[in-house]
């Protein structure tokens, strides 16, 4: 016999190191030969898409395309420290540092353009497709490429820094502002529980993630799918088995993670509500995307069979045991 049920899960997630610990990101922007823009920043691309997102934020601020930017982020001797690629902090913290650096760079470029264009002031200057333009008399314009040629013996660069605002919590009461900003989400799933085998099948999932603003919706959806899959494994089968400190399942033939056959299509919804302190309103989502899934599945299992599973993962053995116990108690 199979029983179906639906469940919902919500979560919030505070970004950053937290608790008043100095959480600092830095970036340097430099005009490169040929008019290209170099962003030097210790942002790590772990697969989440930080490299692309950071380039998008830089390109937006400097009025160029992603193809005009080189992000130098591999070598500690070439780039400033931007903190760890963790705590869902890169988009918000390092994105802010890059935005600030690019805004400062804009002022530097305006100063040089003022001289080269013979202007009295930088007022009215704007950046447009790799050029500095006097917005109310657009014939007055000079390209980044031309500026890089004229100033080839001088480094035109600007720095940017962002320090997150959190406070240390009181050690006795925990009162304080430990993280900023917070990201929110909600997920609903439908499951089918096989009462004879204890196998839980996911039938449907709708997942809404607050992003403040989506820097790159495809990348964001990819994170949502990936977070969902990781949460699916966490809920239904992943369990590092220990025996006196020995890991019993220390390889992929024994420690199973979800395959394409285990995953389902997830209906992803991106909710945008720009955060004022964030770069273009964008908040991080890397960790939050895995959080509300497990509770939604657990609540759906309860809705299907009337048994609350309080211990993860919900393996078929564990579920069958719970079903039998419930039968005995009734």
């Amino acid at each position: 016999m199979k029983k179906r049920g639906i469940g919902v899960g919500l979560s919030f997630y505070g970004t950053g190191y937290g608790n008043g610990f100095p959480d600092i990101s830095r970036a340097i922007v430099r005009l490169l030969p040929g008019g290209r823009i170099g962003i030097y920043c210790g942002v790590t691309e772990v697969g989440q898409g930080a490299k692309t997102a950071m380039i998008q934020i830089g390109a937006e601020t400097l009025g160029v395309t992603e193809k005009d930017i080189d992000l130098i982020h591999e070598d500690t001797s070439l780039m400033p420290d931007s903190g760890t690629a963790a705590a869902t902090r890169q988009t918000y913290n390092t994105g802010n540092a890059i935005k600030v650096a690019c805004q400062n760079m804009r002022e530097k470029l305006f100063e040089k353009a003022k001289v080269e264009l013979g202007l009295n002031s930088t007022a009215g200057l704007a950046l447009e497709k790799g050029e500095v333009v006097l917005s109310f008399f657009p014939q007055k314009r000079i390209s980044f490429k031309r500026l890089s040629e004229i100033y080839k013996d001088e480094t035109i660069e600007a720095e940017g820094e962002f320090v997150a605002q959190t406070t240390t919590m009181d050690p006795d009461t925990g009162q304080g502002a430990p993280y900023w900003p917070y990201t929110f989400n909600a997920c609903a799933v439908e499951v089918e529980v096989d009462m004879n085998t204890g196998i839980v099948n996911l039938l449907r999932a709708v997942f809404a993630q607050d992003a403040g603003r989506a820097v790159n919706p495809h990348l964001l959806e990819g994170q949502m799918d990936g977070g969902f899959a990781m949460a699916l494994g966490y809920t239904l089968f992943e369990d590092l088995k220990l025996e006196n400190g020995v890991i019993k399942n220390n390889r992929f033939s024994k420690y199973l993670i979800p395959t394409a056959m285990d995953m389902i299509d997830v209906e992803n919804i991106i909710i945008e509500d720009p955060e004022n302190t964030a770069p273009y309103g964008a908040k991080g989502i890397g960790e939050p995307v895995m959080i509300p899934i497990a509770p939604a599945i657990l609540n759906a299992i309860y809705n299907a069979i009337g048994i609350r599973i309080t211990e993860l993962p919900v393996t078929p053995e564990k579920l069958m045991k719970a079903i039998r116990e419930a039968e005995v108690n009734n």
Binding site: Q48, H218, D225, T259, A260
Partner: protein, 156 residues
């Protein structure tokens, strides 16, 4: 040492290898084809997937000498005349790539699937790539990529 003759990405090779060498080591250490990745060494993750005589195999489970006389395609062999294979292009466009470590194997499994079955169902796509583990993407963008690739291949 044993001598083997085989073709990799259209190029014939005659090399002498240690008989204990696995095919993945021959490809990576001897031929420098580092696009083939090792994720588990026991045929579970599919990162080392290559196409051998038209079939996908885990190159960590094949001994080097077993490749004698075979025709092998690795990720480096998919581009034609400087053009990406439709599956590669589709993976890029669909956003199916994240950390990228599973991608060479995943792309080859997708290609091998479409070579045999040019219009697979969703279920068949999932099955076709189920031997390739990915921890980042949740696989759904790979389904979208595969469907995109099908369209591109029809147009070719």
């Amino acid at each position: 040492m044993v001598n083997i003759n085989f073709t990799v990405n259209g190029k014939p090779y005659e090399i002498s290898i240690d008989e204990n060498m696995r095919l993945i080591d021959v490809l990576r250490d001897e031929l420098g084809l580092i696009g083939t990745k090792e994720g588990c060494g026991e045929g579970e993750c599919g990162a080392c997937t290559i196409i051998m005589d038209g079939e996908t195999v885990n190159s960590c489970l094949v001994m080097g000498f077993q490749a004698d006389g075979s025709n092998i395609v690795t990720i480096e062999g998919l581009e034609k005349d400087g053009q990406l294979h439709p599956v590669q292009r589709a993976y890029m466009e669909a956003g199916a790539v994240q950390c990228g470590f599973c991608i060479p194997g995943m792309v080859l499994s997708t290609k091998a699937l479409l070579d045999k079955n040019p219009s697979p169902s969703d279920e068949e796509i999932r099955e076709g790539i189920s031997g390739n583990l990915c921890r980042c993407t949740g696989y759904n963008k790979m389904l979208i990529a595969t469907k995109k690739a099908i369209e591109y291949m029809k147009g070719e």
